[in-house]
């Protein structure tokens, strides 16, 4: 069995774990949750095996290199990191509901890597510029950072669900939120899925409608059902703190990732910073999360405001990761079709 076969199966394993976590949450079946943990662990083990096998296979092909060199490989590593960090959190905090919001992200990353046309799962030989240990350090640290931000995003979403009422009543938020949601979904469906803007907007519209229908239904639910769904969530205080811890962790790794990337650029082209779009977007992401940190540490921003800001940060991560390939620039190694 080849590594890409194993990794395709792992996509479904993560999907199954996600479904089980969601089941355990909605129908309150602790047994289901325990099973989900086991399934997620099998997923991580299989994912690890897939990555290692891919490494071995590349040597069999005579083009041996660490499996962190193109979009497919980075997505696989991204999913692995998310699942691993999540399992660590589960063990530490003993709450399985977070799994319902994070394992699906791992599954989506893997599914996107396997199914999106144009992302090849073939093992490709390394171009001369990519032959550097700094590159391996760069990819690994960046994706650990991105994974931490992905989990922070999931936790921020949970926080906003738990605190369904606004902390402070701001009228314009009611208009700004749906528009922002629509713009973001359009942008990301253009980046991730379809080839033109009109089609992206048409994809985004039903997604937004379904989302708001869901919100509407939940708002109209009898209070006891609503509470029973949310009572198993960790306390808002814990979610807030946990999301923030994830941002701290992610920020450290993002910083190391940008730095190792700069050292690599300096050894390959003689300049550590060149303002190419990918570099610039990673810096934009860094600025946004630096804002999150200062707002929280120095101005004591918490709760909703910080949850939204952290979600904006993750949008910047996604754009750095995928969106930049739409822009003019040189940083094409992680691009589609590579």
């Amino acid at each position: 069995m080849s590594s890409s076969n194993i990794l395709s199966i792992i996509t479904f394993v993560y999907g199954l774990a996600g479904v089980l976590y969601i089941f355990a949450w909605i129908f309150k079946k602790p047994g289901c949750g325990k099973l989900a943990t086991w399934v997620a662990m099998i997923g991580v083990i299989g994912n690890t095996a897939g990555i290692l096998l891919r490494w071995v296979e590349s040597y069999r092909l005579g083009i041996g290199h660490a499996p962190f060199s193109n979009l497919y490989e980075s997505l696989v590593f991204f999913a692995w990191t998310i699942a691993l960090i999540y399992l660590f959190i589960e063990r530490r905090f003993g709450n399985r509901i977070i799994g319902a919001f994070t394992t699906p992200i791992a599954c989506l990353a893997m599914a996107y890597a396997s199914l999106k046309p144009g992302i090849t799962s073939d093992i490709q030989p390394l171009l001369p510029a990519l032959k550097s240990n700094w590159l391996i350090a760069h990819v690994i640290t960046c994706f650990i950072g991105y994974a931490a931000f992905a989990i922070a995003f999931g936790i921020s979403a949970m926080y906003l669900m738990k605190q369904a009422q606004d902390d402070e009543k701001v009228i314009w938020l009611d208009f700004v939120r749906p528009i922002t949601l629509f713009v973001f979904i359009t942008l990301f469906s253009r980046i991730l899925l379809v080839g033109n803007w009109a089609l992206s907007a048409m994809t985004a519209l039903p997604i937004c409608l379904v989302f708001y229908a869901g919100v509407f239904i939940v708002r109209r639910m009898p209070a006891n059902i609503k509470n029973s769904l949310l009572e198993m969530f960790p306390e808002p205080r814990v979610l807030d703190e946990l999301g923030y811890q994830m941002v701290l962790f992610g920020f450290l790794f993002l910083s190391v990732g940008i730095i190792t990337g700069a050292v690599w650029a300096n050894s390959a082209w003689g300049r550590y910073w060149g303002w190419d779009p990918k570099e610039t977007w990673s810096l934009i992401t860094w600025f946004v999360y630096a804002t999150v940190l200062h707002a929280r540490m120095m101005r004591d921003w918490r709760g909703q405001r910080l949850a939204y800001l952290s979600m904006v940060g993750f949008a910047a991560v996604l754009f750095t990761y995928f969106g930049v390939n739409l822009l003019p620039g040189l940083h094409s190694y992680g691009a589609l079709g590579q």
């Binding site: 490709q124 032959k131 690599w264 003689g270 200062h294 620039g329």
Partner: protein, 467 residues
């Protein structure tokens, strides 16, 4: 900010200081930098004016050019934003350090028991032994967990105070200092460094570098020769390795030799040469074959530009005239080719095109002799990126400090704990409370762990008593 003084009481300089010491300003600047940085990723930077006019039209071109959008990361307003942020970082750090310095470098850390008594969260338990007996045991347990400890007597017993990680309060200043170092390093590089490129044909020597974003050339103090260039490919056709053998010459004498590949440059006198591109050059020499139409005989001859060749069987003379990268054949580009002149014994000279890629091309001329390029040695030039950046070590120092600083700031904290023991008849009552400047949840765990450990001595003491 820390001060709530009325602004009008302050001198203008103080007011400016206060303005820069604001974290609100930091947040505004960070978000502004994030938002404006997007522009330069949407609009390609440093293209030619013609390309911009074509893309945006005259009006927008002028407007964008006025705002420096086409080279926005070195425009005055973007640099001012970075300068403002730097000033903000420096002022904030100095402003705060004035307070934290005294806390961090206090010789005798202040221990205010009233402060710990006010904490709502406390671990409490009772001990069978009197405070004066516990006084022999507890301090060493606290000392094992915290670097510094002190025992103080209270009215009804004693208190053990422990703390660790006071110095970690410096972490954030290390991060801020590292950011300033990065900017200083960048500035040193842009003032004292340069960035250029040079193409060297195999076997040739150069000493002039073409600067980037600057029409001027740069004369080096030494010469550099490309002895050899090689490119290898994978089976898929993707490039595997570009390798240039370079020699540095001083006054014509070789002083240093190195093969460079991508990611492994040559460095000499602070100037670094990076493998960055390559290209084909016309071969110096080609092997031609002449096929006589009359006899079918093939004659091989070496040829070089402007070298007259006499073709056997009295078919005339031939000479290569020039090399072209893109030969034209009925409007089609047929790639690299030599153009030669064939002079038949009795007739006017004809131009002959000899494409490198199509050796049978000359058959179409239907002449008395068919000329083809049978073989040639490809010749390359190597494209080198040349740069000097004396600021790079400042930047790297900044990188290392930033990583260390972020780790300290995020994951280490100043922890303080207080174990208060009060007499309760012949027994004791113990209260453990603690605080940390960061990661309060983690500190809560640490306090309850300490309390458990202290309580455990109770059971072992009982065991001893029974024995």
């Amino acid at each position: 900010m820390s001060s709530s003084e009325v602004a009008s009481d302050l001198s203008p300089l103080n007011r400016l200081w206060k303005a820069f010491a604001s974290v609100k300003l930091t947040i505004v600047l960070l978000l502004t930098l994030a938002a404006t940085s997007i522009i330069g990723t949407l609009i390609p930077q440093n293209e030619t004016p013609v390309a911009y006019v074509q893309a945006f039209g005259e009006f927008w071109y002028r407007l964008f050019a006025l705002l420096g959008v086409f080279d926005m990361y070195s425009s005055w307003w973007f640099r001012s934003l970075i300068l403002l942020l730097t000033a903000n970082i420096v002022v904030c750090s100095i402003d705060r350090l004035q307070f934290t310095w005294k806390i961090i470098f206090a010789r005798h850390p202040k221990f205010n028991i009233a402060r710990f008594r006010r904490f709502k969260r406390k671990e409490e338990f009772k001990a069978e032994r009197a405070p004066d007996r516990l006084k022999n045991i507890y301090p060493s347990i606290v000392a094992r967990r915290f670097g510094y400890h002190r025992v103080e007597d209270t009215d009804e017993g004693f208190a053990v105070y422990g703390e660790s990680g006071r110095w970690t309060r410096l972490g954030v200043y290390i991060v801020h200092f590292s950011v300033v170092l990065l900017l200083i390093g960048g500035l040193i590089g842009s003032i004292f460094g340069f960035d250029g490129f040079v193409n060297i044909p195999e076997g040739e020597t150069v000493r002039t570098i073409q600067l980037r974003n600057n029409p001027k050339n740069l004369q080096l103090d030494f010469e550099i020769r490309c002895d050899d260039f090689n490119v290898t490919f994978y089976d898929t056709g993707a490039p595997k390795e570009f390798r240039s053998s370079l020699t540095i010459l001083k006054q014509g004498k070789p002083v240093y030799q190195k093969d460079i590949i991508v990611n492994d440059p040559l460095q000499y006198e602070g100037i670094r040469f990076f493998q960055s591109s390559y290209g084909n050059l016309p071969p110096n020499e080609v092997m031609l074959n002449f096929t006589s139409k009359a006899t079918g005989m093939i004659y091989n001859q070496k040829a070089a530009v402007d070298k007259q060749i006499v073709i056997p069987e009295n078919l005339g003379t031939f000479a290569l005239k020039q090399f072209t990268r893109a030969a034209d054949f009925r409007g089609q580009n047929i790639g690299e080719a030599f153009i030669g002149v064939l002079t038949p014994p009795n007739g006017s000279p004809v131009d002959v095109t000899l494409p490198l890629r199509f050796p049978r091309f000359d058959r179409m001329r239907k002449g008395d002799v068919v000329i083809a390029i049978a073989d040639y040695l490809p010749r390359y030039y190597t494209g080198l990126q040349v740069s000097r950046d004396p600021g790079v070590w400042v930047v790297y120092t900044g990188f290392i400090l930033m990583i260390i600083g972020i780790y300290i700031t995020f994951f280490m904290s100043h922890k303080q704990v207080c174990v208060e023991v009060t007499a309760d008849g012949k027994k004791s009552r113990i209260k453990v409370s603690g605080t940390a400047n960061k990661n309060k949840l983690g500190m809560e765990n640490k306090v309850s762990n300490l309390s458990e450990k202290l309580a455990e001595t109770e059971s072992s003491a009982k065991g001893e008593a029974k024995n």
